[in-house]
């Protein structure tokens, strides 16, 4: 019983961590692609690794995904 509860807490903590990490990237004003985790600067260049802004984080810099269409938004 105790073991089952631990597993549930582990899953809940993982989900919360994911939400917080995405929120932090959004708050930093950088684009986060929801399904691939690609982060870019204003010119579409992948963001740097923590502590070294000159180096690309190759764990998130994907280069083979197709271009997908997105919407426009109307601001009255």
């Amino acid at each position: 019983m105790m073991e089952k509860r631990s597993i549930i807490w582990f899953i809940v903590a993982g989900l919360l961590g994911g939400v917080l990490l995405n929120g932090a990237a959004f708050a930093a004003g950088k684009h986060t692609d929801g399904d691939s985790g690609v982060h870019t600067d204003e010119h579409g260049t992948p963001l740097g690794v923590p502590g070294d802004p000159h180096k690309v984080d190759r764990t998130i810099a994907t280069s083979s995904r197709p271009i997908t269409s997105t919407a426009s938004r109307h601001c009255p």
């Binding site: 600067d41 204003e42 690309v56």
Partner: protein, 223 residues
């Protein structure tokens, strides 16, 4: 209200999707309808797939402009492009098809004038990361392949009185090479050097670009 009747503004943000909050507020104050183009960040190979990416975003820009005209045939449509969005908007306006007629005027906001030069030679972390994202020296030597997509190339045939270029004096993306390129461009296009940073959202910067399109709209009405 001034000369803003029947005006629409299409806003193309940078790849970081930074919102055009100040311009959306300025549009609301003037009774102008603003339309934000929302697009995905670049995917595919950074050199080989770059033009396909520009074309895909350009199609989205055209869809927005076409939708405006479908609903308001007499609409006067202007485009604001920030950072990468400006590079793509300039590319869109240079297309050899009906797309180039989508806009009566453009404003280039914090746009690196030659992204290829910036990425080949730049010391900025963005330029270094671009080189770092490539597979090695062979690919780095091919960065010049994207030069035809540079803003300078796209604006080469653009009507000079229908494009304003806004440059931030505190913009850390603009190195000496970019400044030298802007000095050449300002002999052709209206150019404003402003006390602003890369996002170019200071009140004076925003007011000046709205004054530019208001003047264009007034001129269009009189002609």
């Amino acid at each position: 209200m001034g000369g803003f009747e029947s005006i629409h503004v299409v806003l193309v943000p940078g790849a970081d999707a930074l919102a055009f909050e100040a311009d959306i507020a300025a549009a609301a104050e003037r009774g102008v309808l603003a339309h934000v183009v929302e697009y995905d960040p670049p995917k595919g190979h950074p050199i080989d797939d770059c033009e396909a990416y520009y074309q895909a975003v350009s199609m989205q820009i055209h869809a927005v402009a076409a939708d405006i005209r479908a609903q308001a045939p007499d609409a006067r449509v202007f485009g604001f492009g920030r950072n990468l969005g400006g590079s793509i908007l300039a590319y869109h306006a240079a297309r050899p098809d009906e797309f180039r007629e989508d806009f009566q005027g453009l404003v280039m906001i914090g746009v690196i004038p030659e992204l290829s030069t910036f990425r080949i030679h730049g010391d900025h972390s963005s330029a270094q990361r671009f080189r770092d994202s490539l597979s090695g020296p062979t690919e780095i030597a091919r960065i010049g392949d994207i030069a035809p997509l540079d803003m300078t190339a796209s604006l080469a045939t653009h009507p000079v009185d229908r494009c304003l270029i806004q440059i931030g004096e505190q913009d850390d993306y603009m190195d000496d090479r970019a400044v030298a390129i802007f000095r050449k461009l300002e002999s052709r296009f209206p150019s404003e050097w402003l006390d602003d940073v890369h996002a170019m959202a200071a009140p004076d910067t925003v007011a000046r670009r709205w004054a530019f399109i208001e003047a264009l709209a007034e001129g269009g009405r009189q002609s």
